[in-house]
């Protein structure tokens, strides 16, 4: 937290609200930061389609109150080029650092002495950005998986929300425990292929176990280009399951 160069993104109904929120969160005054307007926001019509304004605050490292050369960059486009940090990846190093720090803190409070390994996942064909993977390692961390991965799902949900709140935008991140999801994904893919062969050979539908949306998606993606079968999800809520239908 003591690097003065860290930038943070805040949102508010209007630009001034976003700046005020950021200043109070960072404990700084208006002349101690450089403001970049990422998104001016819009009110929408009757509140429909309204978007919050988003600003990035960069603390000015020097203690003297001289304004910085670029005092503010205002633009209507919420573009990535505004980032002063290297634009190498799709996520700035900041996001990774914040994610790691937040995850470590949460794990400590959950009573685990664990390491967090951060990596970038492959971008799925229908996603705009590649998700960040936070993989947790350490003694006893399998307690964080839970029955059918439900504790892990809760951990991911809370981490996403906390990140979203902190950065003022949705973050595409995946929380894993000792590669559990990766192993599970491999197993699901091979299950999908086996069941698809079975359905194709017998000409009868194959029903899989009820699964989470994330897991059903893995099955659908795996069989998307299969020549002999189609996949659909049937059922409601926790009973929803993938059905493999032979093409006729």
């Amino acid at each position: 937290m003591d690097q003065p160069k860290r930038t943070e993104i805040f949102s508010g109904e209007e630009i001034e609200d976003a700046i005020a929120a950021g200043l109070s969160a960072m404990g700084l005054t208006r002349d101690q930061v450089t403001v970049e307007v990422l998104d001016e926001g819009s009110r929408g019509i009757l509140g429909i389609g309204s978007k919050p304004a988003r600003v990035r605050l960069l603390p000015i490292p020097r203690p003297d109150p001289t304004p910085p050369p670029v005092a503010s960059v205002a633009t209507i486009e919420p573009v990535a080029e505004l980032q002063p940090e290297p634009p190498a990846g799709e996520e700035t190093p900041d996001v990774t650092a914040v994610a790691r720090e937040m995850m470590a803190e949460l794990l400590k409070r959950l009573g685990f002495d664990a390491e967090v390994e951060v990596s970038q996942a492959e971008r799925a064909p229908d996603e705009d950005t590649a998700p960040i993977i936070l993989d947790v390692y350490g003694a006893g961390v399998d307690e964080l998986i839970g029955r059918k991965g439900d504790t892990l799902a809760a951990l991911q949900e809370i981490t996403r929300l906390m990140m979203g709140k902190r950065l003022g935008q949705r973050t595409n991140l995946i929380v894993d425990v000792e590669g559990y999801k990766q192993r599970r994904e491999r197993n699901l893919r091979s299950l999908a292929r086996r069941m698809a062969e079975q359905a194709a050979q017998t000409g009868r539908r194959a029903y899989l176990e009820p699964m989470s949306p994330y897991e059903r998606r893995i099955i659908h993606l795996e069989l998307r280009e299969h020549p002999d079968v189609e996949t659909i999800s049937v059922g409601d809520g926790p009973r929803r399951r993938v059905t493999i239908v032979p093409k006729t």
Partner: protein, 78 residues
Amino acid sequence: MSEMKDLVEYIAKSLADEPALVNVSEIEGENSVILELRVGPEDMGRIIGRGGRTANAMRTLVRVLAAKQGKRVTLEIV
């Protein structure tokens, strides 16, 4: 401060627009703990989440700590 109370408070404060209004009280029985989470009126929806999603995720996480202590925990948002 108990770890369970501390955890709930940490999460709720991280998610709230008004962290100053977040308050958790703890009622401890022999084998069970009841946590009462209070947040500002503006933050109620955010803390509960769509269909209670966020509240349930917090319950699941606080249960990890409860299990370590061999206790049952109930988290109520009041």
